[in-house]
Symmetry: C2
Subunit: 350 residues, 2 copies
């Protein structure tokens, strides 16, 4: 089994903690280890033959620094010179694995997701690997817990051995549709986690994205890998694996997963995945949180004592050079702060 | 004219900026110079013969450090070994001045008040000095702008040459009373600013606080002053000048003042005395304040960029080791944070 971790994201919704050179997956969102480090540790029980981390040039240095903690593991960090969405990153990883072991099972995971039940996660991956043994492309579908309009959905057909044929992928729905999906019971959130045989994804890439497949077919073991990547990338087109392959392929299966998942899309997702105190407050990286009549608030500190008085539903983030105070239901607007800083050329804060 | 600045306060309502060793008067509440430094600079147009700063042992070092900026001025810093409220501090200063010039005019000012119109302030002091020439004790009464229940009031009788005989001092009133006072038109806020001849206050101290007067009567120029103070203080009783003298004396006058005054009693007072932006936001010591749909909030930073999203009426204070987020109308409860820290022995934050 080869694990491919997609770590090239450059999210701005966790500003001021996330920065261009240190996006969400490299951040210590929960305190302690970064989301990427947690993702690596989460897959260790699967005894992967290799862990391939696909990042980008800007973040490669910090990614390698964080991976230095795992010197004993077979980890390979690959830097895309430019971002081209998920299809090229996956095609690249599949080409690399094919050089070593073309029939290996390949597990593709985002670097920045939260998973509560880690052993449940590994069990689902093993189940998905079995379902993929016959050549199907398998995706993990998260059992929806609310009519979320921020995620894509997967409609599942009849199940067999715990895997269902995918009937269709649905883009982010309006609330009415999301409520229908939730009531129907056979719709899942599209997690962006995939399991397939390397030969299967390479076959489907050749079929549905022949230009991309051809670009990476030339990759060889006889020349340094990074040089080949840097030569190939500029000319390839940006595309998501969902649109480029998953929605086109004939044999796509979904495995239902309920291991406590969040894509941690913004600061307001943290209180959902971190246990709060009796007042609903969460303190991360604070020496101590002193709360007077304050509820449902998150303080992400820089080791200081934090005090809240009479506030509710706030996000407070303190970093060495920036401070953010945001109402929880406005967490999506954090990216507007980043845009404002970009417009005014304050690159030191980006 | 001798200026006496009462700088021994140890307010806790500006935590986390104010600390035991750096209370409000030594803080850069408005950014830039401290309140004590502003008080010193404010009186310079009065050409004082000497400025006596009465502080306490804990704060003496920082007080002297701040006064080093004014080496050319005749400033004397005196440290009380223990706090004994305002009457002993004033009696001490009066005793010191009497050694040099017993008939000098003495102006007593708190170190931690905000005054908007500085030349208006000096004009009122000069007017008060004239009113005090005949031996009266003169106090400045602030023309009230709201039915404030947090201040004491002074009821004034008929005015003569701009000075009125004080009919009575009134403790902090309930709202009903405060509304009456405001409507009556002859009630003023008790500012704690006094002007009198040194001989007059010494006469009244001898009359109404004979023990205190006797204790300081022994002060002489032949022994180092601090040694005498350290010997005298432990045995004297704590008392305010208002209760000990002002409410007892026969000839007390009040001069109406309207130079834009605030005692800056808590964080919530700052937006009243600092010009806000169009959204009612005030940023102090911030590199930049970026506000999205945020109003009537104060950010006291430590040089960082600050971002507010969707919040109203907040106080945000960031210091190197602590962060406070407080609703404006709860600013009085900042002292509860200090009490909590005291109870849990977190002296490093006090």
């Amino acid at each position: 089994m080869y694990i491919v971790i997609m770590a090239g994201g450059s999210g701005t919704r966790f500003w001021p903690l996330s920065r261009t050179k240190s996006p969400k997956q490299l951040m210590s969102v929960f305190g302690g280890r970064s989301m990427l480090q947690r993702t690596v540790e989460r897959v260790l029980p699967l005894s992967p033959k290799k862990i391939i981390i696909v990042t980008n040039a800007l973040q490669a240095e910090e990614t390698r620094r964080q991976m230095a903690d795992y010197r004993a593991l077979p980890i390979e960090v690959i830097a895309e010179p430019v971002g081209r969405n998920t299809a090229p990153a996956i095609a690249l990883a599949a080409a690399i694995i094919a050089l070593e072991e073309p029939e290996a099972t390949m597990v593709v995971l985002p670097a920045d997701h939260f998973i509560r039940d880690e052993s449940g996660f590994c069990a689902v991956i093993n189940k998905a690997a079995s379902a993929a043994a016959g050549g199907a492309l398998v995706t993990l579908g998260i059992e929806p817990t609310r009519p979320e309009t921020g995620y894509g959905y997967i409609e599942a057909g009849a199940a067999k051995d715990g895997a269902s044929q995918v009937l269709r992928f649905v883009e982010k729905p309006v609330l009415e549709k999301a409520l229908e999906f939730l009531a129907a019971g056979n719709f899942y959130w599209n997690s962006g986690m995939f399991i397939w045989k390397t030969s299967a994804i390479n076959r489907e890439l050749a079929l549905h994205m022949p230009q991309l497949a051809a670009a990476f077919a030339a990759i060889s073991a006889s020349e340094p890998l990074q040089a080949q990547i840097d030569r190939i990338y500029p000319d390839i087109q940006s595309e998501s694996i969902d649109y480029g392959v998953m929605e086109q392929a004939a044999d796509v299966k979904v495995i239902a997963a309920s291991f406590g998942w969040s894509d941690v899309g913004s600061w307001s997702a943290l209180p959902e995945v971190i246990d709060a105190d009796n007042n609903g407050n969460v303190a991360i990286n604070c020496d101590e949180l002193i709360s007077i009549d304050s509820t449902n608030s998150l303080v992400y500190g820089s080791g200081k004592v934090a005090a809240l008085i009479g506030v509710d539903g706030l996000i407070v983030v303190d970093t060495p050079d920036a401070i953010l105070v945001c109402r929880q239901d406005r967490a999506q607007d954090v990216k507007k702060i980043v845009e404002t800083l970009q417009r005014s050329g304050r690159m030191e804060y980006l």
